[in-house]
Symmetry: C2
Subunit: 103 residues, 2 copies
């Protein structure tokens, strides 16, 4: 890309990187998403194995059934924080939490 063109784009608020940077970002992003999906699946698995309803889990974490549903659906508005807090509420020990990240 021409330097002058790049300056104009940057002035307009665009961050200009190269293709590698772009791919790198995608890679981080997808690793992050995958992480959340993994926790989603495991949360549902864990909840079911404990014979808890979504409403029941919601009560435990002082949330709502709909948010629990979103957690388990991998809804993008759900944070890692909430997923982890939920798993902790289900007495998941740290070492098990660690295993869940990669399974």
């Amino acid at each position: 890309m021409e330097k002058s063109k790049q300056k104009k784009l940057e002035a307009a608020g665009w961050k200009v990187g190269n293709a590698a940077e772009f791919l790198e970002l995608n890679e981080q992003e997808s690793a992050y998403i995958e992480l959340k999906l993994t926790l989603s699946r495991n949360l549902q698995k864990k909840r079911r194995s404990l014979k808890l309803t979504q409403h029941g889990l919601a009560r435990l974490i002082k949330s709502s059934q709909s948010r629990v549903a979103k957690m388990e659906a991998g809804d993008p508005t759900v944070s890692l924080d909430l997923l982890v807090k939920s798993l902790l509420a289900l007495k998941t020990p740290a070492h098990q939490l660690a295993r869940l990240l990669i399974r």
Copy 2:
């Protein structure tokens, strides 16, 4: 606790539980905080080992030096999400991330 008293407290916005519930909450809360602190420490360690400044890391994750400082200081306004995203930006593979959780 008297039922009538409990009702008054609940009306005033207090959730009344028993001691076990209270301790349980504290336990979850502290596990969560400990988790974040562990990631904080490891993020700083990793950043330093890569000879990156806070400003440099901030650039990588499109954040600011001050937020990176807060991450490493274990500031409570920093989310797990941001910590994890930062570690991913430093190319931490999932299996390593998992290990960090328990060390």
